[in-house]
């Protein structure tokens, strides 16, 4: 889509666009190019020189069992975060949609967690499940269950999943709620007249109408789980125990900054770049469809 009416001149527009181009070039394109370039080298241990290895870093990564484990961890983690945030959100939205009065109050209460930073959410959940002082872990102990996410990888994963999904419930709720509100009442009523009870109406009419929203949220939540959950993992588990909660983004950080292995960290960045690219394409394909409707 283009404007028919435009202004003349080319100095002014270049001047207007300059700040954004400058910031993007310095803080985006140069670092991104640098990441690609560094991924082709292995620096010596003293950082004085580096050796060109071509795709060596990538070959090493793909053969590295820790990296492959991080891939699997990321897949499991994002799947769980997506499910744990979408299903409760859908459930709450369906209930809220049935209420004529009061849904505004509930909505206000439910959007709070969205405003809480992932890292702060991590601290809140860590506090509840802390092995020494946590309320929830204490009550679990009373029930005879010995909670210890510091040693148990499965429990650690469960905790970071719940802490990451928590704030997303608000986000998904808002989108599901808006979608439910736009389902035409006449269709629902027609089904009701035909004797379809609530759950039947829900599965045969409402859910199919929600599927575009659900698909959109699926992609957005996966992107969130990939990239924005660093704070949760860093505050709760630090990637442990035994790397059981080390997702790809966390590994870029720990290899690059803690391990100082720049070549490998850059190669991981490049791989992530490809992953983001794919996710973005999926997102845009879908968005295009939605815009044309």
């Amino acid at each position: 889509m283009e404007k028919r009416v435009t202004f003349r001149g080319w100095m002014l527009p270049l001047l207007l666009i300059a700040p954004q181009v400058l910031v993007s070039a310095v803080f985006f394109f140069y670092p991104a190019a640098q990441a690609i370039w560094q991924s082709l080298f292995i620096p010596d241990p003293f950082g004085l020189s580096s050796q060109f290895v071509g795709l060596g870093n990538f070959e090493f990564l793909l053969g590295d069992k820790f990296y492959r484990a991080a891939f699997v961890t990321t897949a499991v983690f994002s799947l769980l975060v997506t499910l744990c945030s979408m299903i409760p959100a859908l459930f709450l939205a369906v209930i809220a949609d049935r209420l004529i009065k009061g849904s505004g109050v509930y909505r206000t209460m439910l959007i709070w967690p969205y405003a809480v930073a992932p890292a702060v959410a991590g601290v809140l959940w860590l506090f509840m499940f802390n092995t020494r002082v946590g309320v929830v872990s204490w009550y679990l102990g009373q029930l005879g269950y010995d909670w210890n996410h510091v040693l148990n990888g499965g429990e650690a994963m469960g905790l970071v999943v719940v802490a990451s999904a928590w704030g997303r419930i608000s986000y998904n709720f808002l989108f599901f709620f808006a979608a439910l509100q736009s389902v035409p009442r006449s269709v629902i009523e027609a089904a009701a007249i035909d004797g379809a009870h609530f759950w039947r109406r829900f599965f045969t009419i409402v859910l199919p109408l929600l599927s575009p929203t659900a698909f959109f949220l699926l992609v957005v939540n996966v992107v969130y789980a990939f990239f924005e959950t660093f704070g949760v993992i860093h505050t709760i588990t630090g990637g442990g125990p035994q790397q059981s909660t080390t997702i790809l983004v966390y590994k870029v950080f720990s290899d690059g900054f803690v391990g100082q292995d720049l070549g490998s960290s850059s190669a991981q960045s490049v791989i992530l770049l490809v992953v983001v690219g794919l996710l973005t394409v999926i997102q845009f394909k879908y968005v295009e469809k939605r815009v044309h409707y």
Partner: protein
């Protein structure tokens, strides 16, 4: 409303049951925040001997003033100020540069327009988490570690806002630009008198989203603020945990967590309508 809902509306027990489910849901979702608040109003011994109470104590002022004015490494008031500067810097900076570049892209035909457009488009794809090491080197090279510039600039290098404004500008009727041109108005006059006032709601909605985005940043401030004086509150909480076997000062840490969530919560709740709109806009 009653008429449109009439047919499928539940009455009596059904409606109470629905409310009950809703309240239960809200309580469960809210519990972590409630617990943090309770922990911020009791004494350390009450927490380290579990189970901690589930009802607020009387140490509110003690804990919050301890956090705000002395903190652990640095007073929380300092961290709050740093977060505020960072969040406002990101929100305002991004809005200004995006308004300008979107205006240039939509209202002018200039050489290299498409190249610039694609250049900006690509930045949509790469979150800062993916390019942290080289971005860190760039910022360090400029001597911007431990500075507000270092906190802000790398995070405004993305194109979401530009796209949003471009989409919106395309919907502004051509007649307005036509009239401005006939009147001999210069482009910047048109921008200032027509485009900006018309974009007010979009700007406000975007501001809400960007403020929260900036406030909630974690990884980037963690890397570039090595000086506690420059810590932001969201990354500073983690720094308050002792290393090794020392027991964390839970009441102060939890008071800090509550303080860290108050500004974004206020923004979201008080500007709910704009927030929902901004959310929908920016994901479109």
């Amino acid at each position: 409303m009653a008429q449109t809902h009439g047919m499928v509306e539940k009455r009596g027990v059904g409606i109470w049951l629905t409310h009950a489910f809703m309240i239960l849901g809200v309580l469960v979702i809210f519990f972590p925040i409630w617990l943090a608040f309770v922990a911020s109003t009791v004494t350390q011994p009450e927490i380290v001997r579990p189970p901690m109470p589930l009802w607020p104590g009387d140490q509110f002022w003690e804990n919050y003033s301890a956090a705000l004015f002395s903190g652990v490494n640095v007073p929380v008031a300092t961290m709050l100020f740093n977060s505020l500067v960072m969040a406002l810097g990101i929100a305002i900076g991004k809005i200004i540069i995006s308004l300008l570049s979107a205006f240039a892209i939509v209202y002018f035909r200039f050489p290299g327009r498409h190249v610039f457009f694609w250049m900006i488009f690509i930045t949509l794809m790469l979150p800062v988490e993916v390019r942290i090491v080289p971005t860190f080197e760039v910022v360090a090279g400029f001597g911007m570690l431990n500075s507000y510039g270092g906190l802000i600039f790398p995070l405004i290098a993305s194109a979401t806002a530009t796209f949003l404004f471009r989409q919106f500008f395309l919907t502004i009727p051509d007649e307005l630009a036509e009239a401005a041109r006939v009147d001999g108005a210069r482009p910047m006059r048109f921008f200032w008198d027509i485009v900006i006032p018309m974009s007010r709601t979009n700007i406000a909605a975007l501001f809400v989203i960007l403020f929260i985005y900036g406030w909630n940043q974690y990884l980037w401030p963690l890397l570039i603020t090595t000086d506690p004086e420059m810590n932001t509150i969201v990354m500073g909480i983690k720094q308050m945990f002792p290393s090794g076997d020392d027991v964390a000062e839970w009441p102060v840490i939890m008071a800090t967590s509550i303080l860290a969530m108050i500004p974004p919560v206020i923004v979201v709740v008080s500007m709910q309508r704009l927030f929902v709109r901004g959310l929908v806009d920016s994901e479109k």
